[in-house]
């Protein structure tokens, strides 16, 4: 027992002892290693700055990683705060993409759609650029370090070093700190100058971040400034893009048309209209019916007639084509339903028709009136071969036909001949085979419509769309864009001040005052006017020749060949073949191609062939070997259609430019005194009074076709009107002494600066003015308007002949300019001010409050020199 107790005590003592020894050992070990124990090395590191390309790639990679992480977080519910913050950015990107793509679909025009993306992109760009360009870059320049420096923490997460002011990892190396200290001008003899540098860096970073929060809201201003600049470039880009797209489309026009045909919704005529013509029950074949059918089958009508052309001649020509088609259809119908020698007609019906068409003579059995030969022959035929069944009398239709054929050539009286023909036609309608003929014609029209008109219509419609895209009056069309930018340039040459714009935009009257004042001022100096007029005329000439004539002209040629080719598909027996027959190969061109292709002269070919080569042979060769055989063929109608289209599209635009030149020229003529001299010559020595000048200006700047009567002739100037018109627009034959040009010609400087073609066009516009205005004067009663001569034209025609009134044009352009400038005047100073304030305030960064507490080394340590 004792032993047991003893051993137990010993055991206990031993345990205590060994515990004490172990503790002592541990303590000793701690003391020994105290100086060598350190925290584990920092595994976080600073990210090096990258070039833009790799930062984009890494950014994309990070976004993709975030998507994966998002999936994991949603599935497992495990993530961390840093990662959750990144999900927020991911959501923002997703939402913005959704907004931008949705808004893109809302925009009708691609410029605006593109601007939507540019707007969204530049919004994000400026949100991102603002803190970089305006805050972190200046700070880097001023203080030598990046406050947006990123680092990778021990868990491999990217974070911004100065994101949390109260937790800035100590990751800069001593060398880097020294470099920043030098830049900050810190005295290196300061005790703990590195701590002071880090404190300053923290301060600067916090100030930079705060400044970011205070100013970031103004970044939309920067965005809109960027967009404002971008839109100009984009417009140019869009014009070029649309041009090249249009030309590209031209090559694919057949493919596009084929796509169009597949679309069941594409129809060039109303379905109801078609039904009336093609349903045998509804159809009533007469002249009207065939007219209608021809209009329907003519593929040009539906497309061009209503929408795109005002050219009366062209419409008349198209109608002419339709009439021909109608004739063909009608003839075919008549030939089908003539008597085939079958069947019988009721004699009663025959006499009724004869009575109706040829006259009472049929009824007058007494023979008092001389009977038509046709009627008597019919009667004769009836007595010879007529018969009666159940009390109804019949005559075989074969005999009616025979009688008609023998009689019709013997009738000499034209009115009687016509009556007989009509009667015969009515008789033919009694024929049972008429219904078959109607059915036939309906089916025929339907076939032609589906197999020929619709494909051709698709082609014409495609081309029409194509032409509209480049030459139309739509906002997006190539021509409109070019026109708008050239108008802006015209206005630029006037050097208008903000005040003038502000006034000019209000109404045409003040616009006119300012414009005429400006032009008058320029016109009074030879140098200024010479420079001005050569500037605007060369612009106009360039616009007309390069844009309208060359570009549209060449397109018109190509279009007409493409379309001519399309008519090849029409079978020869179709009524529409008249279009096909129109298209002809240009044989000179074909001969040249064949000769060039065979590398011999044409004469040699003729020799080899033993005489002139037949056209069919040449064309066959061309079709086989030429890459674009259709290019050698043109159709006169097509050329006319396209030509009128193009001319019409550009006429108004041209006239507007001409009018602007004429306005400047008017001021010049006034200043040189030529106008006054001419007026004296015209009126026999009257002074050119202010009232007359005012009327002249009204006509030049304000005049449109319709307002003429009210504005200029009813104001007591009616008597002078012809003379005023002559003064303004008509060149006289009288050349005054010492002058080079006759009275009424364009001023010398103007005509010198124009090339021949522009000069001719200016003259044409002048004569348009003179003719249109002059037409309304009642020459029998001077001073009155001839109401019957009043031209009720569509605004489109007016525009294309006289262009837009200068005052109105000027007012609208001025208004646009004024709006732009007003906007700029508000937002440019704000943007510039905020940006400047942001940058300048950074000069005052980095003041540490208790800097004096960091003592000098020689004074022996911290807080020594308090």
């Amino acid at each position: 027992m004792d032993n047991k107790i003893n051993s137990s005590i010993q055991n206990n003592q031993y345990k205590q002892l060994s515990k004490a020894i172990a503790e002592q050992d541990a303590y000793r070990a701690f003391l020994v290693n105290a100086n060598s124990i350190a925290p584990q090395p920092n595994r976080a590191y600073l990210l090096k700055s990258r070039n833009p390309v790799s930062s984009v790639i890494i950014g994309t990679y990070d976004t993709a990683k975030d998507v994966v992480e998002l999936g994991k977080a949603l599935a497992t519910g495990k993530s961390n705060d840093n990662q959750l913050g990144r999900f927020n950015d991911l959501g923002m990107k997703l939402g913005s993409l959704g907004i931008a793509s949705y808004l893109f679909t809302k925009r009708g025009t691609s410029t605006k759609g593109l601007m939507e993306f540019i707007g969204a992109a530049s919004f994000f760009a400026s949100m991102a650029a603002w803190p970089r360009l305006l805050i972190s870059e200046p700070i880097k320049f001023l203080y030598g370090f990046d406050i947006r420096q990123q680092y990778v923490d021990a868990q491999g997460r990217k974070k911004r070093l100065y994101l949390d002011n109260q937790f800035v990892p100590d990751l800069y190396s001593k060398e880097e700190i020294d470099r920043v200290a030098d830049k900050l001008g810190i005295d290196k003899t300061t005790h703990d100058y590195r701590e002071l540098t880090k404190e300053k860096m923290r301060t600067i970073a916090l100030q930079g971040n705060t400044l970011w929060m205070l100013t970031a809201g103004f970044s939309p201003l920067l965005t809109s400034m960027i967009c404002n600049l971008a839109e100009r470039g984009v417009t140019k880009y869009i014009i070029n893009h649309n041009c090249s797209k249009a030309i590209k489309n031209l090559d694919n026009i057949e493919k596009m048309a084929a796509e169009k045909i597949k679309d069941p919704a594409f129809n060039i005529v109303d379905a109801k209209e078609l039904k009336v013509l093609t349903d045998p029950v509804l159809a009533e074949p007469d002249k009207q019916y065939f007219r209608h059918a021809a209009t329907l089958l003519n593929p040009f009508h539906a497309i061009l007639n209503a929408r795109d052309t005002d050219d009366a001649n062209l419409i008349a020509e198209l109608n002419n084509y339709s009439a021909r088609i109608s004739k063909i259809l009608e003839d075919e119908f008549e030939s089908k339903r003539v008597f085939r020698g079958k069947g019988v007609l009721r004699y009663e019906d025959i006499t009724e028709i004869l009575r109706e068409r040829i006259g009472d003579s049929v009824a007058d059995i007494q023979g008092n009136v001389e009977e038509s030969e046709f009627v008597s022959k019919i009667k004769e035929a009836f007595t010879n071969s007529g018969y009666e069944v159940d009390g109804v009398q019949y005559l075989p239709s074969k005999h009616v036909e025979d009688v008609y054929n023998t009689v019709i050539d013997t009738i000499t009286d034209p009115s009687e001949k016509e009556n007989v023909m009509r009667a015969y036609k009515d008789l033919a309608k009694l024929q049972p085979n008429t219904r078959e003929a109607v059915e036939d014609v309906c089916k025929n029209i339907k076939d032609i419509y589906n197999t020929q008109t619709r494909p051709l219509g698709a082609m014409v419609a495609t081309i029409s769309e194509f032409l509209n895209a480049i030459g139309g009056q739509k906002y997006e069309s190539v021509q409109t864009n070019i026109h708008l930018s050239s108008l802006d340039e015209l206005m630029k040459s006037l050097n208008l001040s903000y005040k003038e714009l502000k006034e000019a935009r209000l109404n045409p009257e003040s616009a006119k005052t300012i414009l005429s004042g400006k032009l008058g001022k320029i016109a009074s100096s030879d140098d200024k006017y010479g420079k001005f007029i050569s500037d605007i005329t060369s612009r106009q000439a360039k616009f007309e020749s390069s844009v309208i004539d060359n570009f549209f002209g060449s397109i018109a040629k190509r279009v007409s060949s493409v379309l001519s080719n399309a008519f090849d598909t029409i079978p020869d027996d179709s009524p529409l073949a008249i279009f096909k027959k129109e298209a002809r190969y240009d044989m000179d061109k074909v001969k040249k191609f064949v000769a060039d292709d065979l590398k011999v002269s044409y004469e040699e070919l003729v020799k080899r062939n033993g005489g002139e080569v037949p056209d069919e042979k040449l064309i066959g060769y061309l079709r086989k070997n030429a890459p674009n055989p259709q290019m050698y063929r043109t159709s006169p109608l097509m050329q006319k259609v396209i030509q009128s289209f193009v001319e019409e599209k550009s006429a108004g635009v041209k006239a507007t430019g001409h009018r602007y030149i004429l306005e400047a020229d008017f001021e010049r003529r006034l200043k040189t005194g030529e106008l006054e001299a001419y007026w004296k010559y015209l009126t026999g020595g009257q002074e050119l009074g202010d009232d007359v000048i005012k009327v002249c200006r009204d006509i030049m700047y304000d005049g449109t076709m319709n307002d003429l009567a009210n504005k200029f002739y009813m104001k007591g100037n009616g008597i002078e009107a012809p003379k005023i018109l002559q003064l303004l627009f008509k060149q006289s034959d009288f050349v005054p002494e010492g002058a080079k040009a006759p009275y009424g010609a364009l001023s010398e400087l103007t005509s010198n600066s124009c090339d021949d073609s522009l000069l001719a066009k200016l003259k044409e516009t002048r004569s348009n003015f003179y003719n249109i205005y002059g037409k309304m004067l009642d020459h029998a009663r001077p001073g009155h308007i001839d109401n019957s001569a009043y031209m009720p034209s569509s605004p489109k025609v007016q525009y294309s002949m006289l262009g837009k009134a200068g005052s109105e044009l000027f007012m609208e352009t001025a208004s646009r300019k004024f709006n732009d400038r007003t906007w700029m005047r508000i937002f440019l100073p704000i943007t510039a001010g905020v940006m400047a304030l942001t940058v300048v305030s950074q000069l005052f960064f980095g003041k540490v409050k208790n800097e004096h507490l960091y003592g000098k080394k020689e004074n022996g340590g911290v807080n020594a020199s308090k």
Binding site: G77, G95, G98, G217, P220, F818
Partner: protein, 344 residues
């Protein structure tokens, strides 16, 4: 020996055995959950905004040591407001100077931009609100539960005595460190430390009180925070995009008419009705697509936004609360504590 449970009421009111008085004093100067009223959120935002402008920004610009991450985040309100104002101003400010037809045309994008900005904010707010409310309804966890944090600062200057500052946080704003301690404290003040936990446990399907519900529930709450927050961050931007798309529709091009006749109340109701009509028309336009070149695309995208927003909310709530009722999956206990077992 006394058997049965120790009654909770007999336990000291808080874990560190302070007197009631001391406890009261302490709780006013330490972090605590505040009571939520309908206006609490708005008041917190107002507090943050005012402080951002008048306190945090000056502090930050001076480079104060005491500026913290909360202040930086709060200042995020400033660019949101100035940015929205700038966007609206850019499209509207100059318009009044234009002449009339131009003014009317310029007003259309101006109006759309204004509605777009407002609807963006509204959509974003609604998007997260829906998920918060859905999660709260299904689980009882209010992700927006606010608490007041008392921060003690370093003195800015010699003799600076104003060293405490109040911040408004949310108990569950951090997935890493949710403030479960405050939830316990809130319970302690009402005499039951596990008050909130018991409530959640009931929602989880436990019919009887658990011995240490916080142990069981904490992980589940963390999971909800992560899932709901992730969903919220995606969903709220889809709702924002939907808001912008609605504002971009044609009906919003016209001004919403404020009736001129009737009493003030009738006129206000009229305005509301007009607004509702505009909103409804816009919604239909968005749903049916806009005629034009991209009709089909706009229809598809419009519907994607509408159904995407709805789906993101529904799926977000579903995902966050999925598997929450763990009690349903627990096997029933075989031991009947009320029954007396005989031991042989």
């Amino acid at each position: 020996m006394q058997t049965g449970q120790i009654k909770l009421v007999n336990m000291p009111q808080n874990s560190y055995y302070a007197s009631d008085e001391a406890h009261k004093k302490l709780s006013s100067t330490s972090d605590r959950i505040i009571k939520k009223t309908p206006l609490t959120g708005a008041r917190i935002v107002a507090d943050k905004l005012v402080n951002s402008v008048f306190t945090y920004a000056p502090k930050g610009m001076q480079g104060s040591r005491n500026s913290n991450f909360y202040e930086f985040l709060s200042m995020g309100l400033i660019p949101n407001i100035t940015g929205s104002a700038a966007l609206i101003a850019l499209f509207n400010l100059a318009n009044s100077k234009f002449r009339n037809p131009d003014r009317a045309y310029a007003a259309i994008p101006g109006r759309k931009m204004a509605y777009g900005v407002v609807f963006y904010a509204l959509g974003k707010w609604l998007g997260s609100k829906f998920i918060n409310k859905g999660v709260e309804y299904k689980t009882g966890v209010d992700l927006e539960m606010p608490y007041k944090k008392v921060v003690t600062e370093l003195p800015e200057y010699k003799g600076d005595r104003d060293l405490t500052r109040v911040e408004y946080h949310r108990v569950f704003e951090s997935a890493d460190f949710p403030r479960f301690d405050l939830i316990n404290k809130m319970g302690e003040q009402k005499g039951n430390r596990f008050l909130w936990w018991d409530k959640i446990a009931r929602k989880m399907g436990f019919k009887t009180r658990l011995n240490s519900p916080d142990q069981t529930i904490q992980d589940k709450v963390r999971e909800i925070i992560v899932k709901a927050t992730s969903a919220k961050y995606i969903s709220s931007y889809i709702w924002a995009a939907l808001g912008v798309a609605l504002a971009a529709q044609e009906p919003f091009e016209k001004p919403i008419i404020f009736p001129v006749c009737g009493t003030k109340r009738e006129r206000l109701i009229g305005l509301g009705k007009n607004f509702a009509t505009t909103l409804k028309d816009s919604f239909l336009d968005l749903y049916n697509g806009n005629p034009g070149k991209y009709m089909y695309a706009s229809k598809i995208l419009g519907r994607t936004l509408i159904f995407g927003a709805l789906a993101s909310t529904v799926l977000g709530v579903f995902n966050a609360t999925r598997g929450f009722r763990i009690a349903d999956n627990q096997p029933d206990t075989q031991i009947d504590i009320d029954r007396e077992y005989e031991v042989h």
